[in-house]
Symmetry: C2
Subunit: 223 residues, 2 copies
DNA sequence: ATTCAATTTGTACAACTGTACAAATTATAA
DNA sequence: TTATAATTTGTACAGTTGTACAAATTGAAT
């Protein structure tokens, strides 16, 4: 058994939703992409909203698990600045890069979330909120420990901006390529992760009341 | 003559598009909101795509003009750090806060842009790109002058994150309210502007090779 | 008042939507 | 093989979509 039709349908649904949103993609589009019949969708998922719910249930848990795993590692770092960097990476990396699980995972699913959250679809709103707020809260707490003296408002706003930067980069990578005249590749996820982490490192660190040593310039990978 | 039907239609179209995206809003929805007939839309705009184009043409020019005006003022500031702050405000404020023009302007239009850019609608993609890239480039140049030694890639990525933060905050302000347990109001645009400017100030400034004086903590308004 | 153009309405159209369900097919187990 | 269940297909349905266009209404100028 290579891959069940249900799995194939889920995979193509994520791909299409992440490209064009929830409303613009019809069940027939998904069926056609998967080489199946429309009826198979109602059979396996009952309704379009339920299909979306199944997608979330498939990806949410592994992704947050990976995040918390990396967060656990980060928390063992004693130096606050290095820990801050690691905590940020723990939040960003699983959203950008697919883990071991074969199916699309990471970037494509996150991109879908970004698109749906902007679309404001009622079907999606509820599912989104309670699937990720808990993880967000855990991370904000972890960040707070890395930035002594930071105000709660500052932490929340900056975590909002971090998520916005992350989403927008997944949705509109070509803007980077375009604005740079081709010298920077917006699709380069490794570079994007490093840049997001660096940028939010600076923005979080500036919240600290203890402005002491300059930021360490750790940059793995290229760039 | 208080307001022509055409203007009323445009106004309601922006409102609806900014809430639910392009695909989810039908011409009949817009007509109903404006208390008019479907036919009036095809009469005044010809097609749905053309309606969108008209919306952009209506708002783009005044908004970018305001931005460039504020940018001109900012450029006269000699101190690089203060200038950086002012340049960022010049970019962010007109996107968030309606200027003198009566019609929805500012926030609502920007929110619509955010939603449409995520939706990836082909009708919108082209219009969006060439309407704003030029302004973005001018700002990146201005930012470069405030941050000596910054790499072009760093500047472009951070301007990408700035726009992402801006968009996401307009689209999902309630996440801030929710995550803070109600103590922070995500809809408070003045606070949002200040936070975005502060956060990106830190992220841009960290690009400088001359890491010297600590960041000034200028915060107008509440918070 | 009359003419002519501009606007607004109403309605019709083909295409597409999510969903339902009977029929056909395939897999599973005895 | 046979029977039983699981899956997949095909098709039909009512509702909505963008668009087109004739008819009705309004406006402005003579």
């Amino acid at each position: 058994m290579r891959q069940s039709l249900k799995e194939t349908l889920l995979r193509h649904a994520v791909t299409l939703f992440s490209k064009s949103g929830y409303n613009a993609v019809s069940l027939r589009d998904i069926a056609k992409a998967a080489g199946a019949n429309v009826g198979s969708l109602t059979y396996h998922f009952g309704s379009k909203a339920n299909l979306l719910r199944d997608i979330y249930e498939l990806h949410t848990r592994p992704m947050n698990a990976r995040r918390l795993e990396l967060l656990g590692e980060a928390r063992r770092i004693s130096n606050p600045d290095e820990r801050l960097m690691a905590v940020l990476r723990a939040y960003v990396v699983p959203a950008f890069i697919s883990s071991t699980e074969s199916d699309g995972g990471g970037a494509e699913f996150t991109r879908m979330r970004a698109v749906l959250s902007a679309e404001g679809n009622p079907d999606a709103r509820k599912i989104i909120a309670d699937a990720f707020d808990e993880t967000s809260r855990v991370f904000i707490d972890a960040l707070a420990e890395c930035v002594p003296g930071a105000s709660p408002e500052g932490l929340i706003w900056r975590s909002q901006f971090l998520l916005g930067a992350l989403y927008y980069t997944l949705v509109n990578p070509e803007r980077v390529t375009r604005l740079s005249g081709g010298t920077v590749d917006g699709e380069d996820r490794e570079a994007a992760v490093n840049q997001i982490v660096e940028a939010s490192y600076a923005s979080f660190r500036s919240l600290s009341t203890e402005l002491a040593a300059p930021a360490p310039r750790i940059m793995k990978g290229r760039n």
